[in-house]
Amino acid sequence: MKRFLLVALAAVMLVSSVACSTATTNTSATSAVATAATTGASTDSSTATEATKQDVTITYMVSQDQLQDAEIALGQKFTEATGIKVDYQVIPSDQYVNLLTTKMNAGECADIFSSQGGQFDIVTQLNVEKNAVDLSGESWSSTVDPLAAAELSVDGKLYGQPIQDVSSVWAIAYNTKIFTDNNLQVPTTFAEFKTVCETIKTAGITPVYECVSDGWHHVLWFPEVGAAYEAAEPGLIDNLNSNTTTFASSAVMKQSLDQIKEMVDAGYWGENYMSNAYADAAKSFASGEYAMVVANQGFGAEVEAIGTELKASDVGYFVIPLVDNQILNVNPVGPSRFIYSGSKNVDAAKQYLAYIAQAENLQYLIDNVSKNNTLPFIGVTDKYSETIKTFYATYATHGTVLQTTVKYLNPQWMEIGKELAALILGDSTSDDVLKNIDKNRADQATAAKDPAWNE
């Protein structure tokens, strides 16, 4: 037995020393290849060497739909200009968070990574002060729109660079033709909204396109009208964050959930809301089968791109009228680029971010990505259409959405999705949903050792 252990130990050391001489722990600079195991290692041409600036490859890990073809095109121009190559690693969204956190936990990560912003989340979920590079001193950091920058900073230090248009709000996009054909006005209260839906339903069109199977879209109804909850119960948000009140005891939030159920029970979501997917929203809307869908302002362009007679100007917007909300729901949080603090190519990564942030490149991204109406940087020209400008102008009051103002709400988004699905199916009640949200918040807070939840 002893002899066996000695032999085993020797073998492990042998294997690791062999592997050592042919590989490094460096994640991005060099790589080694070994042919089928029984023979020794042979080196293969690697993608880059450590020394020269000109020959570096930076790795950029990004979640699905946060990287656009346009940015890849810019990346190629960047390589031509500086010689620095960019290795884009696109991960579908369901694996992304797990992968990112596991890699960061183990001390390995791509040079640049994307993640949702949000001043609370970047601390509790990303541990951004430890894992990301401080970008406050960069040439472009003062050009970031202040509201967006606030969601990407901790203690005044900027850590992220916004990727997408955050001016866009999740509102109800509606088919103006269907409305005019049925003599309908934009509803300003929930009661009016129900009447509008009823009229559309009688005309043989499904009022609202909803997609529960994706898990996230149908959740939007609830937290996007957060500012209305605060208006109805002033101080609610602060109290929730200091744990002096709960979701379960908020009458207006219960009303909101009950109204959602009312909508579904009345048949306003049609028959297929459980299995629809958001990826088909534009197509379904363009076909005229559905009159409304919760979407952001890039939706008009997406509908026009389908190629039916419906144009972007035929798509109007109004805010979600749950609990009679008339406040424009702002959310300055969006996916953003961060530089990993343990990266060996911080300088090259910074150059990439600076390149993207150049005015003409930002403009390129605005012009070539249909869902970007603008980007949260000073000095760019937006491409808001008349419809969109009218929409923003209609609402004098702006308020921030619940998932950005209240702690520990955003991380449980998909969970809330399941709770809502259970509510809609009749397997749960609105009280239970709110109770479970509170419970999840408490679990997160205790794990984060939040003093407000100190038991």
């Binding site: 294997v15 199977s213 449980q412 679990d443 997160q444």
Partner: protein, 291 residues
Amino acid sequence: MNERKTYPLYFVYGALILYVALCVIPGLIGIGYSFTDWSSYSDEINFIGLKNFATIFSPDENYVEYLSNTILFTLVTTICKSVIGLSLAVLLTKKIRGLNIHRAIMYMPAVISTLIVGMTFKSILNPQIGLLNESLRSIGLDVFALKWLTDSKIAFWSVMAVDIWKGVGYIMTIFIAGIMAISPAYFEAAEIDGATSWQKFKSITLPLLMPTIAVTTVLNVLYGLKVFDIVYSLTNGGPGYATEVLYTGVYKEFSQGRYAVGTTLSSVMFVVMLFVGYFMIKIMTKKEVEE
């Protein structure tokens, strides 16, 4: 004959070292995390003893439900895959035309990765525009055009059906290998004695296949207890919580940053599977000795 000399232990060392270094050690360390409060929210990891286990077994969590779903899934898929797989294997070891084509076709679903199977079937089973319901409607069987993945009463059965679709060819291939290893002499003798196909099956094939059946059963049961991919890609535990199994539960904990709790769940599963696996193998080796 000196066993020690003819069957030297050093034959085992290679496998053992690799296995221990890259499978056992990381696994044990991983299980160790169950005793800590490791999460995404703080950098420190503290030893907290059995607190996580208490959380899991407490009544406010839904894990007991997940467990019963997992067991149901395991039972149904194991039985179906074994029975159907065996029948197909018997079928495809007779004289049929196009034998190789059939074998290849039936094996092919196993070739496609689970994620893709999930995506494809999500589309096929779409109640409105999916292939299955469209076909049923076109031949007038509208009443059978159900909401396969979104009706909480039948969603789980649909998931099981897709899993069986995918796995049956794999199991069948193992059975075919087992059947082909049975010496034709037995069958010839039975033929001379005038035995029917069923009698041949019962008295020759089945008994001699016992070791193979044991192998496939263990594989199926362990797969069923560990199942994740197929459920995740088809329904992600939905609608609501109707199709949640233990490992989708683990995944949920990880996504919310509660790493220690997630690891604890998978450690509990590990212990359960250890017991199940151990007993099944014991039974299997006993049966072999009896032969």
